[in-house]
């Protein structure tokens, strides 16, 4: 395992932080979806990004994963600039989108094989790495089954296996446990913790689940109106608000408190579709 951790560390760039943003901003017309965000995520952290619908979490993730160019500001991921060296950034990150994106018409093994080829894993290493990732995620026995026959939790673990296959320095997970039952959620959390301890991966996760944020994340940022409203360790955030405050109270305090009008129609459709696919 030590050797694997070293290999993961070898994927890192030259920066001191896994993610560093300075004044990162994205405008859609006159609307600032992400508004001058300054963020530093150290290597090896499981970092939670919270916020009401429309707070700017997904837009921030899209920029950090090079899917969306920023309007202004700077960001380095894995030591490389997201605008100046997007290809280098892509080689150092893994990504699990909110939607279930594993190809149901392919087997688990074939899904991973496609990723292995797109990430340029050497032919002679592909099989062993795929077997290792499937084994790590507890999917070795289901490798030859079509992914459409998998349970929701299995599909999520397959997607995590895809994302970790090339041993990225940083994993971006957009609401990875949405729609999962409690058992499946805990299995995913356990695998994420192991990814960090065994491979030294940094994990940036967006979630609406306060239990997930509290138990999984070492540090949290709550976004509101495109800005970082507060940042800190879960315990610090709770005690900072009051002796009996829960993380839900912290969220309500910093994320606006009232009924959120944020998010858009397509976002709601996506969430419902994911929940439906998970059964």
């Amino acid at each position: 395992m030590k050797e694997q951790a070293v290999k993961a560390a070898g994927e890192r760039g030259t920066g001191e932080a896994a993610v560093r943003t300075i004044g990162l901003t994205r405008l859609f017309g006159s609307l600032a979806a992400v508004d001058h965000v300054d963020l530093v995520i150290p290597y090896g952290e499981i970092f939670g990004l919270l916020g009401a619908n429309g707070a700017g979490k997904s837009t921030l993730i899209k920029m950090l994963t090079t899917l969306l160019p920023p309007t202004s500001g700077h960001a380095q991921v894995g030591g490389f600039d997201i605008v100046g060296a997007p290809a280098l950034v892509r080689g150092r990150i893994g990504y699990v989108p909110q939607l279930l994106s594993a190809d149901g018409a392919l087997t688990g093994y074939e899904n991973l094989l496609l990723s292995a080829k797109l990430y340029g894993l050497p032919r002679e290493e592909r099989h062993d790495r795929i077997e290792e990732a499937l084994d790590f995620m507890g999917l070795a026995d289901s490798a030859k089954r079509l992914a459409k026959t998998y349970s929701g939790g299995m599909i999520r673990r397959l997607e995590l296996a895809q994302a970790m296959l090339h041993r990225p320095a940083i994993l971006f997970l957009d609401e990875p446990t949405i729609g999962l039952d409690p058992v499946a959620r805990h299995v995913v959390w356990e695998r994420l913790r192991e990814l960090r301890s065994s491979y030294g991966m940094t994990v940036l996760i967006t979630t609406h689940d306060m239990e997930e944020a509290e138990t999984l994340c070492g540090e949290l940022a709550i976004m509101h109106g495109g800005r970082i409203a507060v940042i800190g360790k879960p315990l610090e955030l709770r005690t900072g608000l009051g002796p009996t405050a829960s993380l839900n109270d912290v969220f309500a305090h910093y994320a606006g408190g009232g009924i959120s009008d944020g998010g858009d129609f397509s976002g709601a459709v996506r969430t419902r579709r994911t929940a439906r696919r998970l059964g």
């Binding site: 899209k62 899917l67 969306l68 990504y95 279930l100 018409a105 392919l106 074939e110 080829k117 579709r273």
Partner: protein, 256 residues
């Protein structure tokens, strides 16, 4: 170059695998060319309403129907891409370090597989109807190459439309608006000489005309390519390359 080939092949292999596992779409798409040849073609051939020179009308429209099948199956390819975007598959592909041009080219090649299946179906129907086809290996290989090129061209065009309109509902509308004019403003079912002057100009700007022309020159006994096979292939290739360049620029905007 090796990287480009490896990544394009990976995308195309996946599509081929899915096609083999679930060929339903292929069979359903084969119904339309069967109807065009056995119903429309037979009736028009009996009427003798369209003069097609030495070759019979059925033989004349066979390459046109193949080109039409290629167009119809490729032009709605963009819907699948929008669906992939909605599922997050496009996000995942674009977050990978794979070259954008390999992703787009891989998609075009996989559309080509669907075109090849159409070609096999139409060869089968045409032979069953005793239409005199050229069966020399070089002629058949030329037809398959043209079908691959045509499928790639129209599927990439479809991808461009998908990146512009972004939703399935809008795409369906645009797709319907485009297919029939592309089909009727070509030499698929009647010679260019029968068209009024303005339509002939439109037809000469239509890539389908060049696909029909190359197929007509290679597929049927006595068929002649009006522009010359080299010119047809060169024009199709040039348009394909331009579409590829545009699609590579637009594909990432699909997830913005």
């Amino acid at each position: 170059m090796l990287r480009f080939l490896r990544e394009s092949t990976a995308i195309a292999q996946v599509e081929l695998l899915k096609l083999v596992r679930d060929p339903t779409e292929m069979f359903s798409r084969a119904v339309q060319p069967v109807l065009w040849l056995t119903v429309f073609g037979q009736v028009l051939a009996h009427v003798h309403g369209i003069y097609t020179g030495e070759i019979g009308y059925l033989a004349f429209i066979t390459p046109g129907i193949l080109a039409q099948s290629v167009l119809f199956s490729a032009i709605f390819y963009g819907i699948a891409v929008i669906w992939e975007r909605d599922l997050g598959v496009v996000h995942k592909l674009l977050v990978s370090p794979a070259l954008r041009n390999s992703l787009v080219f891989g998609k075009a090649i996989s559309a080509g597989f669907r075109g090849l299946v159409q070609a096999v179906v139409i060869y089968g129907i045409a032979l069953a109807m005793h239409i005199t086809l050229r069966l020399e290996p070089q002629a058949i290989l030329g037809v398959l190459a043209a079908v691959l090129l045509g499928s790639g061209l129209f599927s990439t065009f479809s991808l461009i439309i998908a990146c512009i309109v972004k939703t399935r509902e809008r795409f369906m509308g645009i797709g319907q608006v485009l297919t029939m004019p592309l089909f009727f403003a070509s030499s698929a079912i009647y010679p260019l000489e029968l068209m009024p002057g303005w339509l002939r100009i439109v037809a000469r700007l239509n890539p389908l005309t060049y696909l029909v022309d190359v197929l007509r020159g290679l597929m049927i006994v006595g068929g002649v390519s009006m522009h010359g096979l080299g010119v047809d292939f060169a024009i199709l290739l040039a348009i394909f390359v331009v579409f590829l360049l545009v699609a590579v620029r637009l594909y990432p905007t699909l997830v913005e």
